[in-house]
Symmetry: C2
Subunit: 347 residues, 2 copies
């Protein structure tokens, strides 16, 4: 079986996804194949090939020229707009990897891409946090109307994927609450602060290591964690979730020396904690820095390691953690989501 993928967006996740496609033979059965049918970017061209785009040549051409349409390929089409590809191209799964703008509450162009895919009953996988957080309910409705799934494990804790785990492996455990450290950048920066560095120093280190974005404000001010927390809540809690702006979100800018000293004294760690609790009316969300005592499972994670604690009625507390949040891991989430659709799993 050949799965034809249309990839929109070609940042580091897209590039890493192509690297997985390069080595797909090692991962798939003989008769299986995942083929890149089309690729569109905002400002670096687009490419469509009915026979599939050769990913190694694509990566090399893009590396040399900065454009995806620099690849010379017989019979391919260049310059098609992303939305035209979604509406008319022959593909099986849409991989939506553009980036929205969480600060501006902007979910375009991702949402239009996804809606257009569902209009043609094409399943969707995405790493686009802004779209998943801001338009979750809309996408659920469109997905259900179309009768095809969407998967978004690439939006949250890609180093230790747990959405599929929580919704399938332990589906009847009845989730009561959730605590997570969802920003590798914040984990890293907080450990530096604990060691005496200034926020600016710590951020510069994080950027140099390639972990933090060039504008790390989304991470530092808690909005990135808030978006991820909303995705977790909407995916797992089965209850109406407050919108961005309707629950407390505090970042890690204003931490005083006194707070840091207290954390050191307690033997614990400071973490930007994203939390879901059940309340009488439904669920409450919050994001903010907390001193975690050594007995808290998430106090135990080092450096960029992200983690999630799922509190359940039938199994108690389950903790999952994994190192980092790299584009390669996000690309692998896309891969797994595609494979899940190919296996015919509904979700």
């Amino acid at each position: 079986m050949t799965i034809r993928v249309l990839l929109l967006g070609f940042g580091s996740v897209g590039r890493n996804f192509c690297r997985l496609l390069e080595k797909q033979e090692a991962l798939l059965e003989k008769e299986e194949r995942i083929l890149l049918a089309g690729l569109a970017t905002r400002g670096r061209g687009s490419l469509w090939s009915d026979d599939g785009i050769p990913v190694s040549s694509l990566l090399e051409a893009e590396r040399q020229t900065g454009r995806v349409d620099a690849l010379s390929l017989a019979g391919c089409k260049k310059g098609l707009p992303a939305l035209d590809m979604v509406r008319e191209g022959e593909f099986d799964i849409l991989a939506e990897c553009t980036s929205g703008n969480l600060k501006a509450m902007e979910s375009e162009p991702g949402f239009s891409h996804i809606r257009a895919a569902f209009e043609r009953k094409k399943p969707v996988v995405t790493t686009n946090k802004a779209v998943a957080a801001l338009r979750f309910e809309d996408i659920e409705i469109l997905s259900s109307q179309a009768g095809v799934p969407w998967h978004f494990d690439g939006t949250v804790v890609v180093g230790a994927p747990f959405l599929d785990y929580a919704r399938r492996t332990i589906v009847d455990a009845r989730i009561l609450g959730f605590e997570g450290t969802l920003s590798a950048t914040c984990n890293y920066v907080l450990d530096c602060l604990m060691e005496g560095a200034s926020l600016d120093q710590a951020l510069m280190d994080a950027q140099r290591s390639g972990m933090a974005e060039s504008d790390p404000a989304l991470d530092i001010d808690g909005w990135d964690s808030a978006a991820k927390l909303m995705i977790v809540a909407k995916a797992l809690m089965g209850m109406p979730c407050p919108a961005l702006g309707e629950f407390p979100v505090k970042g890690i800018r204003g931490l005083t020396r006194a707070v840091l000293a207290e954390a050191r004294r307690s033997g614990g760690k400071i973490r930007l904690l994203a939390r879901i609790t059940r309340s009488a009316g439904g669920i409450d969300l919050s994001v903010g820095p907390e001193v975690l005592l050594p007995s808290h499972p998430l106090s135990l994670l080092f450096g960029p390691t992200n983690g999630a604690v799922i509190l359940t009625e039938n199994l108690g507390e389950i903790c999952l953690s994994g190192t980092g949040s790299s584009p390669a891991q996000a690309a692998f989430a896309l891969w797994q989501d595609i494979r899940r659709i190919a296996r015919g799993e509904k979700r």
Copy 2:
């Protein structure tokens, strides 16, 4: 849809499974139902009812009399041998919860029950570690010949189920190795030893709390962990696994004061570590006490908490942990395995 379950063995896991059946309405869709069709024990009677055994009355009768056939129930059959039920009863799934004897390398009567179920193409779920560890390959063959699955998530780290996770959620991650603390009793005892208790004291505490078996030798001498490790290896590594006796198994009896002092000095913990590594010829297994430094994810787990670190090629290290290893959690694993079969998942 009604799923008719035949339950063999009625220890604390079986009892807890019945408690889950009692509250099944809260967990299932309206048209779904899981019904206990038959129940057989070695020395406390057996019971079969075409209409389903009322589990609350059963639990009460067994509590009062110590026998499952003390329940008075119109139209039921009493005294049928377990194997006859498997061969002739009308059921959909066999839940094999008898206990084998790992010390004696004895996998009966569990294995005969499972074989008989597969002869009738009935899927199997089990919490029987001895059978799963000792007869894994045989059962795989029978399962595949019958074209029906068997599930055994109830045999390993039931507080943080990870077999289904590793085989499904992250199926393409390519597992390179594994480390786990698989015995809650050993974790608990080792923490007591670190605090200065004697082995006898620690064991008595563990027994009083209901955690340790009345004969805790299997745990303390490492054989329980070894059996679980074999199940993990056979389920996840896809390579021939050494038999019990063919890989090093060391327990926690002989720990000297010097070793304990060293562990304390390092700031880490002593754990009975079960490990799988890849070697040139395939995989190597080992079980033995180790001082885990504070940077090791499993050094961070407290008391009875069990944990598993899965080392993968595509995602790095993923750590799962959950509190304890209770019969209620094992019963919940049975429940989830049954639900998985009902959903039509092959594995």
